[in-house]
């Protein structure tokens, strides 16, 4: 059969803007990082090829492993709190009436506050002498001081992230719940289903896809947390809250070790990509029909 397709090479010009945008926005910066990651420099714009040396160094350094472990722990804790909590709040929110708008506005509020402001707010809020939270905890007899004790610092960091981001899970879940037709609840009432059974067999399955999005967004964001953590603890006390991004900035900009910094960036990027793919694959397993 003869092809009737019209070949018009001029159409490529229409694709050009997007190609340029992606190139300058993503590909070229990433290539620059790749470029730095395989070279050594002593200033004066002189570079020497080093191969995979920086990658080996980073992978073998105890410092990187510790930052990575802190990062994984932080992400695991906030995901374990924010997802169930977000779903629970969404389930408890009113479905109609004036309460809906009030709840939605209240929920959206933390999401609208700039990251460094969130850090500053919690920095002050948790101060043991004048901050409401820090002062209150000490009044309750707890020894709370986030600038001196690692546990206090972690509690504050996690509390801040929960306050800042649980709303995202709530809003996504609430939208997902609103999309479930009434007939499902009505059928469940007639079938004599308990509240738990309704959650387990209707709501949770129907929420699967919004929860997948929530997990991916929260995973990626929490794994890259920087601004709020720097403003709140600056990675301290000691290195107690030095997560990957903070460590990376210390190496690349603080010590100006461009090679190791670039190698670490790429490893960081690959870990996020790998874990996101893992979450996605596990959660969409058995979706083919």
């Amino acid at each position: 059969m003869a092809s009737t397709k019209v070949h018009n090479q001029k159409a490529w010009w229409l694709v050009l803007p997007v190609v340029l945008l992606v190139a300058f926005n993503a590909v070229i910066p990433l290539m620059a990082v790749v470029n730095y990651s395989v070279q050594e420099t002593f200033g004066n714009n002189e570079f020497f090829f080093e191969g995979v040396r920086w990658f080996k160094d980073v992978m073998q350094s105890a410092r990187f492993r510790e930052s990575l472990l802190r990062q994984l722990l932080f992400t695991a804790i906030v995901l374990a709190i924010q997802l169930p909590l977000g779903v629970a709040i969404a389930l408890a929110m009113p479905r109609k009436g004036i309460g809906v708008s009030i709840c939605l506005v209240l929920m959206a509020m933390p999401l609208l506050i700039p990251y460094n402001v969130v850090g500053a707010m919690w920095n002050i809020f948790a101060l043991p002498d004048i901050g409401l939270m820090g002062w209150g905890l000490n009044r309750l007899g707890l020894d709370f001081n986030y600038t001196r004790q690692p546990v206090s610092a972690w509690v504050t960091l996690v509390a801040m992230d929960v306050w800042h981001w649980t709303s995202l899970v709530v809003l996504l879940t609430y939208a997902g719940l609103s999309a479930i037709p009434d007939a499902f609840y009505q059928a469940a009432r007639i079938d004599g289903a308990s509240k738990w059974a309704i959650f387990r067999f209707i709501q949770l399955p129907k929420l699967k896809h919004v929860l997948l999005i929530a997990v991916l967004l929260r995973f990626m964001d929490s794994f890259m947390i920087y601004t709020e953590a720097v403003v709140l603890t600056g990675g301290g006390p000691g290195n107690a809250t030095t997560v990957l991004s903070i460590d990376l900035v210390k190496i690349a900009l603080g010590q100006f070790d461009l090679g190791p910094g670039a190698a670490m960036s790429l490893i960081y990027f690959l870990i996020i990509l790998l874990l996101s793919w893992l979450f996605y694959t596990v959660m969409t397993r058995g979706d083919e029909n």
Binding site: A183, Q186, A187, R189, D191, A193, A197, F201, P205, N289
Partner: protein
């Protein structure tokens, strides 16, 4: 036992409905009595309150006024799960993550039925619905008619269920599968002897399914009767319009002092015995196209259009300012231009303000 008795049922979706404002009420008061094991249809246009009525019976809604009785038992205050009814919805409801077997077993397991009994009942019902070979499949993978069978099966599987309510269950089913599911329903009705109530806006579904059809409009019952009664003697012009294809001719007419109905000046004999009583109301003649024929004398008309629909022809005939439809069987003559129409007097009704004059 599930004879269903509805006593002075009224329902409003408003918090404070005003008694005298009709628009506040989704159901404006109805009394109905249905026998155990009967097949009933609720027929009416969208928004007429038929789904509201169904939800009141199943207990998904609590009536603002009135009572619902199953047999002798007052169930008005009971939860849907506590009533011995099941309901099938417009859009098939299946529990996606469960297998077909687990779907059918769900209502029994929720009620703490022993595993062996669950097993036996589910297989029994699956055989009845031709689902046996798919029991282990994921329910979400089934087609719409398969899913609708599961919804129905979850009702049938409970041995305590005495009535099944259907809310336009064939809406999302492919046309070629509709008749199969419909005949399955009829077969099941005869086999299991449950009371069945079927909501629809499709007259064919209602008339083929039910022994009694309840026609509703604006939250009120306008007529409850057998399909034949609805066809031959509609109590309201709406029923005449709504049932039949094409619907009944409804022609504005006058009633003179002697009690004779006059259409465009011509006297028309009617079945009503006391037409004079309707004189000062808005009067109309109702006659189905099936009961209109061409004759040598009668109402002089001009034929405007003839549509051939196979076994018969639909003739649009002009009588003064009225348009009269007539159904003319194959082989009978239709005059090409002018002619005379005769109405079957026994089936020509007089209506006053929309309601039949006896």
């Amino acid at each position: 036992m599930a004879a269903i008795h509805l006593k002075q049922l009224r329902h409003s979706y408003r918090a404070q409905p005003r008694d005298d404002v009709a628009a506040d009420w989704a159901l404006r008061g109805l009394d109905l009595q249905w026998r155990d094991g009967g097949a009933y249809a609720l027929l009416g246009p969208s928004g007429c309150g038929k789904t509201t009525l169904l939800n009141l019976i199943s207990g998904l809604l609590q009536p603002t006024h009135g009572r619902v009785l199953f047999g002798e038992r007052d169930v008005t205050a009971l939860e849907p799960g506590e009533r011995n009814i099941a309901q099938v919805f417009q859009f098939p409801v299946v529990y996606d993550t469960m297998s077909v077997f687990d779907n059918l077993a769900f209502p029994l397991r929720n009620r703490g039925v022993a595993a062996a009994d669950v097993e036996r009942r589910v297989h029994e019902i699956a055989a009845m619905l031709d689902l046996e070979d798919r029991l282990t499949h994921r329910a979400s993978g089934l087609t719409a008619d398969g899913k609708q069978k599961i919804s129905l099966g979850r009702g049938l599987v409970r041995s305590d269920v005495a009535a099944i309510l259907f809310d336009e269950p064939l809406t999302v089913i492919d046309p070629h599968l509709k008749w199969r599911l419909r005949s399955k329903l009829k077969e099941l009705h005869q086999r299991v002897g449950l009371t069945m109530v079927y909501v629809t806006h499709d007259q064919t579904e209602a008339l083929t399914f039910a022994e009694q059809v309840v026609v509703m409009i604006d939250g009120q019952v306008v007529q409850a009767g057998t399909p034949v009664e609805l066809f031959e003697r509609p109590r309201h012009t709406f029923v005449g319009h709504f049932i039949g294809s094409p619907g009944m001719n409804v022609l504005p007419c006058a009633v003179d002092a002697a009690g004779v109905a006059r259409l465009d000046g011509h006297a028309v004999p009617v079945a009503s015995r006391s037409p004079a009583a309707a004189r000062d109301k808005k009067t109309e003649l109702g006659v189905r196209p099936e009961f209109v024929r061409f004759a040598d004398g009668g109402l002089p008309v001009r034929v405007e259009r003839v549509s051939d629909v196979g076994r018969f022809r639909i003739v649009d005939a002009r009588l003064g300012e009225h348009l009269v439809k007539a159904l003319i069987a194959e082989g009978q003559k239709v005059p090409s231009d002018g002619g005379h129409l005769a109405f079957d007097a026994a089936r020509t009704q007089l209506y006053a303000d929309g309601w039949i004059v006896d």
